[in-house]
Subunit: 304 residues, 2 copies
């Protein structure tokens, strides 16, 4: 019998829940709004899975959560959310909440880690061992796959959205909107940053020839160049709301190559940049598919 | 009988060669100037090891080389140096040269990778699994240890010295000296960059209270913050000529914590930064000790 896994993609605006199997096939799914009250949100999540679980038992649960969240399984604070601007969610522990109902292996990763894993198993990361998955939308974050696994054995987890990029304040005096860092990458280039800078409602409504997009591509290219110079990934996948605008990709690729300026002598960068910086292969499903992969990993780890 | 390993730390101004064992003990060493002619330099290196090898056979050779150099053992260009400003060394292959004399396992890593490995085995990286080793001197570079190994399975290797940091051109109009990137980290903060900016002969001669050091610490702190936000190492070790100035450490630690601004809730950063950003435990010997460790690894890999 096919093992059924529960996948949860816990985001700031919605929780996507799905039941799937080890092949990445999804049998049922639901989208639940992220309420100010985390208990209320988790109750809705649990109700969805309980319906299936009572008929056909689920094997494990995989959770890809927005952060910062403690994903170190040896930590006393494992599962605890911290430093989030979503007030009600500070110090909340979604793993603990799920354990109250389900006596199952539960795997936890950062949302971007889950998306990276989804892309590694079934998306545009399939053909490489090591790559970086970025999401650029309401927030900016990145997940790193190294030798087929989410980068681990580290202090916390990557928070690349908050790295500082080269900000030319003469060209762009906008001070940035990150409550922690002002003009970090997220502070300058997230959807809300674009909206604040140009005084508009929705960033994606700006026409493709608006100068906003040259600036946006410039900032993204700085972050991609730094990412390449630091981790040297075999590929970069960029998803998220802002990146739905496909016209950004050629601009980002061109500018990243210019910023590296021939220093890294590798054909992927010098000749094949179109296949090096790419959109996600799973579209909007990288995260939820990754959550199911995390569930499978949790099951296999517990079985050992 | 104790196995003897040959370690070579190949730098832009000198080649340090040593004979040591698996415990990190060094029996003999020599420093050979890096000539414009690489063949001449390697001849001197080979002569040094040959003297011992003819009496007591060496087991393997480990090489930590300045880059960029192709360290991918599966590549047809394995061992080839590229994009170096040292004209005579471009396209030279030191591994091939060593093979002409020695029929031994030869391991190759970037100089900073070797230093990182040396610190992991016998220095200040001993008590962690994952950390970043930086060198800030004539050039700037970094090696990454993840789960006890030099980060591998990636496109090339880290070149973190060339990442772009936040350069406030109003505060510091100096355009940087990197021939590839202008005002990248190395272009702004290497020894020669300090010397050019302030019109002096030797950076380390500037008094500790000179404003040059606040600016230097600022740039280094930006790079450290980005490094922490990207790789999330369990520790950061900073060596190199500029870092001989111990008064830089407190400045760098303070400013790095300020730049992260409480976003990363980890006691190592919030409470124990003095033990998080540290000098090398092996002083100037991280690289040569690491080269011996690389030799041992090359032997163990070949034995399998």
């Amino acid at each position: 019998m096919t093992r059924l896994y529960a996948g949860i993609e816990g985001g700031g605006t919605k929780f996507v829940c799905a039941i799937g199997d080890a092949s990445g096939k999804i049998y049922d799914r639901i989208s639940i709004p992220t309420e100010d009250d985390p208990h209320k949100t988790l109750k809705n999540v649990i109700d969805f899975f309980q319906k299936t679980h009572l008929k056909t038992p689920l094997t494990a649960i995989g959770l890809g959560m927005f952060g910062p969240i403690d994903i170190n399984t040896n930590s006393p604070d494992f599962g605890v959310i911290s430093s989030t601007p979503k007030a009600g969610w500070n110090h909340f522990n979604p793993v603990k909440e799920l354990r109250k109902t389900f006596n199952l292996p539960i795997g936890l990763e950062l949302d971007v880690g889950a998306s990276a894993l989804g892309e590694y198993k079934w998306g545009n990361g399939k053909d490489v061992n090591s790559f970086v998955y970025w999401t650029i939308g309401t927030g900016i974050g990145a997940g790193v796959i190294l030798s087929g696994k989410i980068m681990s054995d580290i202090l916390l987890h990557p928070e690349m959205g908050h790295t500082y990029i080269n900000h030319d304040k003469v060209k762009d005096p906008f001070p940035g909107i990150c409550p922690y860092h002002g003009d970090c990458f997220e502070g300058l280039a997230s959807g809300p940053a674009i909206e604040k800078r140009w005084g508009i409602k929705k960033a994606t409504e700006l026409p493709p020839d608006h100068k906003a997009w040259d600036l946006e591509a410039e900032y993204i290219a700085y972050a991609m160049a730094n990412c390449i110079l630091t981790i040297s990934p075999q590929k970069i996948i960029i998803g998220g709301g802002v990146m739905q605008l496909q016209h950004l990709f050629p601009k980002i690729r061109k500018r990243t190559v210019e910023l590296l300026n021939g220093y890294l002598q590798h054909p992927m960068i010098l000749e094949d940049i179109d296949n090096y910086i790419v959109p996600p292969g799973l579209g909007n499903d990288s995260g939820i598919c990754g959550a199911i992969a995390i569930a499978e990993e949790a099951f296999l780890t517990e079985k050992k």
